[in-house]
Amino acid sequence: MERIPVLRMGSLLLITIQVDMHDKLALQLQDDVTERISDWGSTGVLIDISSLEIVDSFIGRMLANIAAMSRVLGAETVVVGMQPAVAITLVELGMSLPGVRTALSVEAGMELLYGAGAGFRSESDHERSEA
């Protein structure tokens, strides 16, 4: 069965969701993430949803579940790249994704997880080091 790939970058797990997921795929991802954290002792999980045009209550719950389960296993989760239309719809739907930290980009997400300097150097990083 097709699966959403879970990539490893050191102690970070990187997941990019690019397909319109059916429920079984989402549940499979939940399982895979928890297993990988166990296998590799990961401390961070970064989920990139910048390609997702729909996040309904099921997907929202999946994200919240992944964050909760990862925390129990000692890893922090950040969801990045939520599209404006998706954010507006989630608010209307009444989902606030409790316990899920978010960031605007993969870079910002990594900074959130591992502190400044974790991502690639950008304009603002350069500026900060001169202050």
Binding site: H22, I54, S57, F58, V86, E92
Partner: protein
Amino acid sequence: MSDPKRETLPLKSSNDVVLARQRVRQRAIELRFTLVDQTKLVTAASELARNALDHGKGGSMTVEEVANGARAGLRLTFEDQGPGIPDIELALKDGFTSGNGMGLGLGGSKRLVNEFSIESAPGKGTRVTVTRWR
């Protein structure tokens, strides 16, 4: 003679739910809905399709174009022959939980559309009709 603007899709598997929302997306794009309106309608469709499948033991979704004067819109009807909902008012409240998961998504879906109506009774199945205007 069948109306070419009206189509019915089955909701018998979780893949059908994906197909259903993709079809709604296409129809909304054809009617030139804004991106946010598209997203709201497709998300509502996803919630209601999943309900029909999980709680209603499978059913169908009908999509049709509607018009109100110069305004164009899409009407979606979700039907199932499942156990029905005993207390509709309660089900529409946010956070109502039945079975696994965080709720039937009914209250939330209602907020994503312009018109919402629901008919359901124990043993009689459920029909939810929603409309979103452009």
